[in-house]
């Protein structure tokens, strides 16, 4: 660890300084500081290393030490330089401090005195430079017209962070902290967590350890303002000379200009909040094939049903089928080619397993604001906050739970129970060909169990997901691995090691075969079940990727992150096609609408945001939850959006109204239809099954 090594340096430092003390013959030097040691070290190389010259005047006045002492220290330094005749070091020092001077100055005692004063005042001025500039900027913004004020205030946060980083880089810890305390109230509330982290940074070394400051130093913070506002700002900045703000803006901020009047406070605050600023709409221009093509198998199934109904003269059934048939046969606009993402040919059994789903689809309950769904709630009892993740398979027959003690348990929700394969010796007796041996024959009917436990992970299981045909299960854990389990043998099949850090989320592609995982290492990876290496690594988020979700057509994947953005990636080429900013906290859950047009996201900021994928804009902001939102689900007919979270409440939102209302109306409408509270269970999982019954699950805590 870093500060243990510092300690060993420190012992070295003491001996060096005692040597130096002898040579200086100055009885006043008693303060053994790192800077002195650094000074001594700097003598050794021919060209002085400015990085090691860690001159820190704040060291002196840190604990109420007088300027007198600081003066004495500086004086000592200069007299030492004078005595040793270190011209290069001196000029390097002067250059770094930006003081024009030649070496001859310090040949006399007066010369040393005057240069000491200059240096000291320079330090004071530098420490104050940022603070006064920043207050001037604040004043300028406050005085400006209200139309410009909100756009201008977006600049405060990146400038604040960069000034703090500059002060730390200059070693002015005390000035940095006082700058922070003086100005942090000028910033928005939702930056609080980041600011808290920023304040804990007090060494140059920390800047390199912290992902947060590295992001700020390497990437540009993006701000979107109207060109009028930009002109106003530039006029102000150019009126000041040698402005560090201008510096910051040109180096660390990218400004996205647009024509037209500046936006109002509502519009501005709607899109801000992300770690690295608001996305320019130009980023979200690329075409997305958001359409969801109808399942070929479903069409075949419909055909079959229709034929049978005709044979048996069941007109009622025929009537039921016809709207589906009509809907499904029209080609869906904007849908990708079925072969765009290659998938292995489906097995007969896989197609068969879907039949009950299709049947459920036909009997689907119609939902609207006045016809609300039934909600079935599964509570887990006696689990003492051990349950972390809950997932359910598409037909709603299996529920899988990941525990903090690294176990995974699967419960059967139907009377069919959990059945595993027969033992190998029994399987050997069965006929070898496909035609002769049905699936039921290889299943051991005597082995039915209600619960199965899967052991393998060595850390809390943060996420699990069933494959579309419910034959496989994928799980992600704190131990950095993703594991694939068979639900026929209830054993582990593969362990995927790619993420080194905790994996937060996994999700199976709706096409099967592929799955995605997202991790603390800021990447999103796409894997296939037949390879142990990822087929795509999607990097771009500035912080942890907390959740991932496949688009219903399997061609895209959405990810939500701690950098408070939601991104949409193309699975085919791994490109990021949409960046949505507007969240003010970590994104914990995502959901696509069934038609693939909308994406809903929610998280720590207690609000649900609905995005329009074709246009790349925010559709609506839904407020009302009183705690972190952990799950979202669209009904199968896209009329209702359900959300639930830490506030023990399932809320139903009117999607029909959201889609049918215009942008200007949305601000005033109330979209929440109804809230259902549980007794004492946070909502961990929500999912609409094929008959439009909302399945919710949570842990009962008392």
């Amino acid at each position: 660890m870093s500060f243990v090594t510092e300690e060993s340096d420190m012992t070295l430092d003491c001996s060096l300084i005692s040597n130096m003390e002898d040579s200086l013959e100055d009885p006043d030097v008693s303060n053994q500081s790192i800077s002195d040691k650094a000074l001594e070290m700097s003598e050794i190389p021919a060209t002085p290393n400015l990085q090691t010259f860690h001159f820190d005047p704040e060291m002196f006045d840190r604990e109420d030490e007088s300027t007198e002492e600081a003066k004495r220290e500086i004086k000592n330094v200069f007299s030492f330089l004078d005595r040793k005749n270190l011209k290069t070091t001196y000029s390097a020092l002067m250059k770094e401090l930006d003081i024009p001077s030649n070496y001859d100055n310090i040949n006399s005692v007066q010369g040393i005195n005057s240069i000491t004063d200059t240096v000291l005042s320079t330090f004071e001025a530098q420490a104050d430079k940022y603070s006064s500039r920043y207050s001037n900027l604040c004043q300028f913004i406050n005085r400006s017209l209200e139309t410009h004020r909100f756009e201008l205030s977006r600049f405060l946060y990146p400038i604040f962070v960069h000034f703090y980083i500059y002060l730390i880089q200059e070693g002015n810890i005390q000035a940095a902290k006082s700058f922070f305390k003086q100005h942090y109230l000028s910033l928005d509330d939702f930056y609080r967590d980041d600011l808290r982290h920023l304040l804990s940074i007090s060494q140059v070394e920390h800047l390199e350890t912290s992902q947060y400051t590295l992001n700020f130093q390497r990437e540009k913070f993006s701000i979107r303002i109207s060109s009028q506002t930009e002109q106003l700002l530039m006029r102000y900045l150019h009126s000041e000379t040698a402005n560090p703000i201008l510096n910051t803006l040109s180096n660390n901020v990218s400004i996205d200009l647009y024509d037209g009047p500046p936006r109002n406070v509502h519009d501005v605050s709607k899109h801000t909040g992300a770690l690295m600023g608001e996305t320019a709409p130009s980023v979200n221009r690329s075409k997305v094939l958001y359409g969801v093509p109808t399942d070929q198998n479903f069409l075949e199934f419909l055909e079959q049903e229709a034929n049978e109904a005709e044979k048996k003269k069941k007109h009622k059934l025929l009537q039921n089928l016809s709207p589906h048939k009509k809907n499904k046969q029209v080609s869906i606009p904007n849908s990708p080619q079925p072969t765009r993402i290659p998938v292995p040919i489906k097995q007969e059994r896989e197609i068969q397993s879907k039949e009950p789903l299709f049947r459920a689809w036909l009997q689907q309950a119609h939902l609207s604001a006045t016809e609300l769904p039934c909600i079935c709630f599964y509570s887990f009892l006696n689990c003492y906050e051990n349950v972390i993740s809950i997932s359910i398979n598409p037909p709603g027959s299996l529920i899988c739970v990941g525990f903090s003690d690294s176990k995974i348990r699967i419960w059967a929700l139907t009377p069919l129970k959990l059945r595993s394969l027969k033992a190998p010796d029994l399987l050997a007796d069965l006929p070898q060909t496909n035609e002769d041996c049905t699936f039921d024959q290889i299943i051991d009917e005597s082995s039915t169990k209600e619960v199965q436990v899967l052991l393998g992970h060595t850390g809390p299981v943060f996420s699990t997901c069933f494959s579309p045909d419910s034959s496989l299960l994928i799980s992600a854990s704190e131990d950095g691995t993703v594991r694939l389990w068979s639900l026929h043998t209830f054993t582990q099949l593969v362990c995927y090691r790619g993420h080194v850090f905790p994996v937060w989320s996994v999700e199976f592609s709706p096409l099967g075969f592929y799955f995605a995982s997202s991790s603390h290492d800021t990447t999103l990876r796409i894997w296939s079940t037949d390879q142990i290496l990822p087929v795509r690594v999607l990097a771009g988020h500035y912080s942890d990727v907390d959740v991932c979700k496949f688009h219903p057509n399997g061609n895209y994947i959405a990810s939500g992150s701690s950098d408070r953005t939601v991104r949409l990636w193309d699975v085919l080429d791994g490109k990021c096609v949409r960046i949505f900013t507007g969240h003010k906290g970590t994104v914990h859950t995502l959901a696509f609408s069934t038609d693939g047009k909308c994406l809903a996201s929610a998280g720590r900021d207690n609000r649900v945001l609905v995005w329009d994928i074709p246009s790349g804009g925010m559709m609506v902001e839904l407020k009302g939850h009183a705690g972190c939102v952990y799950s979202l689900a669209f009904s199968r007919d896209d009329n209702i959006l359900a959300s639930g979270g830490m506030d023990n409440c399932v809320k139903l939102w009117d999607m029909r109204l959201i889609l049918n209302s215009s942008d200007s109306d949305r601000a005033s409408y109330k979209f929440v239809i109804k809230s259902f509270y549980t007794k004492s269970s946070a909502i961990n999982m929500l999912s609409f099954n094929f008959s439009n019954v909302l399945i919710a699950a949570g842990i009962y805590t008392n």
């Binding site: 300690e7 804990s200 609300l372 599964y378 009892l381 689990c383 903090s404 720590r604 509270y677 007794k679």
Partner: protein
């Protein structure tokens, strides 16, 4: 990394009052002490302060990361395992041996101008643990399903919470301007239960319960009352219960059947106790019934303790109803105080009714006692004295009861409101005949401070603002009789009783 142990826990240095954001910093002093514990003496000042800054940064970084693990575990409580996970993610060996599922209490002690936080580590007698019986094994995790909603209506079953009508009301009040083009959905009809035909099973339930409540079988009665006080689905039956109680009280009062009245009072109390019911729509029937039970002038030929029980029980109900449902619209409190004032100031009021009135006053809280009861002590005293002097044994017993109740109610209030010394003459002058007894009781309460405190606790049971309301209402009542309308039912009851 240096392992923090309890002997020298870090001295946290809160640098500013806005500690929430500005945070705390490990003090240089703590670093020194930690250094000394590792035999690094004379740690230079700047090295120590460098370390302090660095350790603060790293600690906060770990805590920030561990919060992330907490959030992903869907918890609101940070555990030691979150810290371990965070340290593993930062490639630091976790601190072993600090696993705990419980809250680790952090104690603070201060002295010599500084605060020290430490973890309490009590000595554990290992013999005791070995010899004690094994704790019960935790229950196996189980899964349970229930309907949170059926077509948008939350069924009233034990798995679901009691209705959140109030909260929804608040939510809708939040944005009164918001317009919704949606038609009001049908589920809201439930609000007016009288409109719904009662299902057969509820009708049966109503019959059984009402019979059991007034029946003679004690076990069945207890069961019925229990059901009334806890079942969540009784709202549709409320109109029937209300009528049942109201009519029952009227009838039984005229028949002077005290035991049945007591049963009805208990039934009312059980309904009042039910957290899922709101009686505010039935107060016009229930409150007069309860008042009548407490204040009625029963025709008792001999002393029966049941009457006194009934009066006390009903007074409790009246008091609770008043506290629970009083608001600016129904102004129960002011109407009630006016009624009680009339009763107390009327010299013709019987001892029993007076007893009931005093009982209700004592339920209403100390302010009511101060304003209603104390000014009437003179009259009360004379009536008591007259009864004590008479030959009638029933009157004698009643007078004794009234006297002890008055003294018991007044004394704590007087102890609280008046400063010693207590002069017996002054008390006699002010309160007449009862002055001496009150004085004795007050004196008895004075020296035992803790006894006074106990009384205070009882007094404090009623919410403070409620007490203030009593005072205000009463004042407005007696300065100007403005609110003449609207207390028909109460006054009618009283009038019918007095005549």
């Amino acid at each position: 990394m240096h392992q923090p142990t309890s002997s020298h826990a870090p001295h946290l240095n809160h640098r500013s009052p806005e500690g929430i954001l500005l945070g705390s910093q490990i003090a240089v002093e703590s670093i020194r002490i930690m250094g000394e514990s590792m035999i690094i003496n004379n740690l230079p000042e700047d090295a120590a302060s460098y370390l302090a800054d660095d350790i603060t940064f790293r600690l906060k970084d770990i805590i920030r990361l561990s919060q992330k693990f907490m959030h992903h575990s869907i918890r609101n409580r940070l555990t030691t395992s979150d810290i371990d996970s965070a340290m593993r993610a930062r490639n630091i060996e976790p601190v072993y041996g600090f696993n705990s599922d419980d809250v680790i209490p952090l104690r603070m002690t201060s002295g010599v101008g500084r605060e020290v936080f430490y973890k309490e580590e009590p000595e554990i007698d290992i013999g005791k643990i070995l010899n004690s019986t094994l704790p019960k094994a935790p229950h196996e995790i189980s899964l349970r399903a229930h309907w949170l909603a059926i077509e948008g209506v939350q069924p009233r079953i034990p798995e679901n919470p009691v209705s959140h009508c109030k909260e929804e009301k608040e939510v809708s009040e939040e944005s009164p301007s918001s317009r919704s083009p949606r038609v009001e959905s049908s589920y809201e009809i439930i609000e007016s239960p009288a409109l719904i035909d009662l299902p057969a099973e509820l009708q049966l339930y109503y019959k059984e319960i009402s019979e059991a409540c007034v029946g003679i079988n004690r076990v069945r009665r207890e069961e019925a009352l229990n059901s009334l006080s806890s079942d969540p689905g009784l709202l549709p039956l409320m109109p029937r219960f209300s009528v049942f109680i109201n009519e029952g009280v009227k009838l039984k009062l005229s028949e002077n059947k005290v035991p049945t009245l007591l049963s009805l009072a208990k039934m009312l109390r059980a309904l009042l106790d039910n957290p899922t019911l709101s009686l505010d729509k039935y107060l016009h029937e229930l409150l007069p019934s309860a008042c009548s039970c407490a204040l009625f002038n029963y025709q008792a030929t001999h002393d029966s303790p049941e009457i006194w029980n009934l009066r006390t029980e009903s007074a409790v109900i009246v008091g609770r109803m008043c506290k629970k449902y009083n608001d600016s619209v129904n102004s129960i409190q002011s109407r009630l105080t006016r009624l009680l004032f009339q009763i107390l100031s009327d010299e013709a009021t019987s001892l029993g009714s007076r007893f009931g009135a005093v009982n209700i006053i004592s339920e209403l809280g100390p302010e009511a006692v101060k304003i209603l009861l104390l000014p009437h002590l003179q009259i009360g005293g004379e009536i008591v004295k007259k009864a004590l002097d008479s030959e009638d044994t029933a009157a004698l017993i009643a007078a004794n009861r009234l006297q002890s109740l008055i003294v018991k109610t007044c004394a704590p209030v007087l102890v609280k409101s008046r400063e010693p010394p207590d002069v017996v003459e002054k008390f006699e002058l002010e309160f007449g005949y009862l002055g001496k007894q009150v004085w004795t009781e007050v004196r008895g309460l004075r020296p035992h401070l803790h006894a006074v405190n106990d009384v205070n606790v009882i007094v404090a049971d009623s919410p403070v603002n409620n007490e203030e309301v009593v005072g205000e209402d009463v004042l407005s009542d007696y300065t100007g009789f403005t609110d003449e309308m609207g207390y028909s039912s109460l006054n009618q009851t009283v009038n019918s009783m007095d005549t």
